[in-house]
């Protein structure tokens, strides 16, 4: 038995703390608690207003028990159709543009200048929230689904390029190396060495994005970018909660259907 072991035996063992300095650990803990207390104390709630509002909330929720699909059926149908067209068009355009940008944003296959340009495009698209882009595009193109379509395409690029690039960066290097060793050119290398490795994930992400785009298209209408959101907004403005409930229910059903569909497709392509 070595002397080093002798001193250890019989001693309890504990996992070393994440923050090693004792004073830092304690001061961080104490300030977190103080911040929490101060934050809760600063919340200003007008309880009388909440009490009045409960009625309106209840009316809204109760309207779900008697949704009105009929009296605005024409508007709902038009809005839905517009949303679906926006979703499909924006997804297709967004996906087609994201693929080259995704390739360029993967550090292991793109040269540095291309990488930086593509990463900047991704960062720009992700930094601007959909609503803000939609407000800008509505200002430029006017009210209607064109602004919504462009917004969703732009948002799709940021989402899909980033995740595709990350998947490419995580691919198995040796499979790609083997294709390179045959004397393949760059395009052949991508087609044989990279694409088969990332294809299932690309399809899965694209399907996921289709369903995000549909949900977003319902929101974008609130700022005038067309689709079912515009119909929903009008219903709220007129206090027609029963029509609004009907619209929300249709949105939920369609999102669930898309979710199910993307699940089936993802299972198939694995």
């Amino acid at each position: 038995m070595t002397p080093a072991l002798d001193t250890k035996l019989g001693q309890p063992w504990r996992k070393p703390p994440f923050i090693k300095r004792l004073w830092l650990r304690w001061s961080l803990g104490v300030s977190a608690v103080l911040y929490l207390i101060a934050a809760v104390a600063s919340i200003d709630v007008n309880w009388a207003r909440v009490y009045e509002g409960l009625d309106r909330g209840a009316a809204f929720i109760m309207s779900f028990t008697r949704p009105d699909f009929v009296s605005r059926a024409g508007d709902i149908w038009d809005g839905m159709l517009e949303s679906l067209i926006m979703t499909v068009a924006a997804s297709v355009v967004g996906i087609v543009i994201s693929i080259p940008i995704g390739l360029g944003a993967a550090r292991n296959i793109a040269p540095l200048p291309v990488y930086l340009i593509c990463r900047s495009i991704v960062a720009l698209s992700r930094a601007l929230q959909e609503i803000i882009v939609a407000i800008l595009l509505v200002a430029i193109f006017g009210f209607g689904p064109l602004a919504g379509f462009l917004t969703l395409s732009f948002a799709t690029i940021g989402f899909l390029s980033k995740l595709l690039a990350e998947d490419i960066e995580a691919m198995d290097k040796v499979q790609a190396e083997a294709i390179r060793s045959t004397g393949a050119n760059w395009m052949q290398w991508i087609n044989y060495g990279v694409q088969p490795q990332v294809m299932p994930r690309l399809i899965g992400l694209s399907m996921y994005r289709v369903d995000i785009n549909f949900r977003e298209s319902a929101i974008l209408g609130l700022v005038g970018a067309g689709g079912i959101g515009a119909t929903l907004n009008t219903a709220f403005d007129r206090y027609e909660f029963d029509t609004a409930a009907a619209i929300l229910m249709i949105i939920i059903v369609i999102v669930m259907a898309l979710e199910y569909l993307s699940g089936v497709i993802r299972a198939r392509v694995q």
Binding site: S181, G183, A184, Y192
Partner: protein, 264 residues
């Protein structure tokens, strides 16, 4: 046919993987490259087809200096060097046939390869090679459905369909069981003999190397420490390459060879 002249590779981290390696390999010679992990075996063969860029020195394949080629000329020369990998490196989601035909990528244009419309001669050759390694019936299976030994056979077909004059083989048996390892080594060496190919085979298993090759090169810390016939590998030589150990059990004995021959 292959000639390395003071080939050196220093990684960006400062690790010297190869220190001025000189080596000549004549036509049709099968060479085993042995040495401890990290000795630079993988780096050496990857510097030959420039999957790894050598820092300095030259690699000449039939008097073409590979180290100085531009990218399109390099692709043309890579066609003459088939590579076989440790973990098979098949593209797992492609079919066996696509994996084999990918060995022709250096010869066909992009659209032909993209549409999988290979010349009939290539398709016939792929079938012939698959038949030669006993996997003809697996042609349309996906590569990830095969066992390790089967995958390595596909890897061999992919290298051979390039119609290479040199094979670069990186630990072909490292992930295989002992019996499959021998079968794969035998297959590689037979095919080299049939086609008059030279080969460099990186291998951990010294006894297996001695069984099949004509020449052994021992690499240690990026430099060649031994170059000679397999029979000249004595415990002293192995100690120089790998460090102190009892080597008697590792070196192949003749009677073992005979039982192996009987089994085969």
């Amino acid at each position: 046919m292959l000639s390395l002249k003071s080939l050196t590779k220093t990684y960006r981290t400062g690790d010297k993987a190869l220190v001025s390696v000189d080596l000549d390999i004549p036509n049709g010679q099968v060479v085993a490259l042995i040495g401890p992990s990290g000795a630079g075996k993988s780096t050496l063969i990857r510097c030959i087809n420039r999957l790894v860029e050598p820092t300095s020195g030259h690699a000449l394949l039939d008097d073409v200096d590979i180290t100085s080629l531009n990218s399109s000329a390099l692709r043309r020369e890579r066609r003459r060097m088939g590579m076989i990998f440790q973990e098979y490196a098949l593209v797992e989601r492609l079919t066996v046939m696509e994996n084999v035909l990918s060995g022709r990528l250096g010869y066909v244009g992009f659209w032909r390869s993209f549409l999988r419309k290979y010349p009939q001669a290539d398709v016939d050759e792929a079938f012939r090679l698959l038949d030669r390694v006993g996997l003809l019936s697996m042609a349309d299976k996906r590569a990830d459905e095969l066992s390790g030994g089967q995958r390595q056979r596909v890897g061999i077909c992919r290298a051979l369909i390039q119609n290479p004059s040199l094979l670069l083989v990186d630990e072909p048996t490292a992930s295989l069981d002992p019996k499959t390892s021998r079968q794969i080594m035998r297959l590689i060496c037979e095919l080299c003999q049939e086609r008059g190919l030279a080969a460099i085979i990186n291998i951990h298993d010294v006894a297996l190397a001695q069984m099949f090759v004509q020449r052994v090169i021992g690499l240690q810390a990026g430099a060649i420490r031994f170059d000679g016939p397999p029979t000249a590998l004595t415990p002293d030589v192995l100690t120089e390459i790998y460090g102190e150990e009892d080597w008697q059990a590792t070196i192949r004995k003749d009677e073992e060879d005979e039982t192996e021959a009987a089994v085969a």
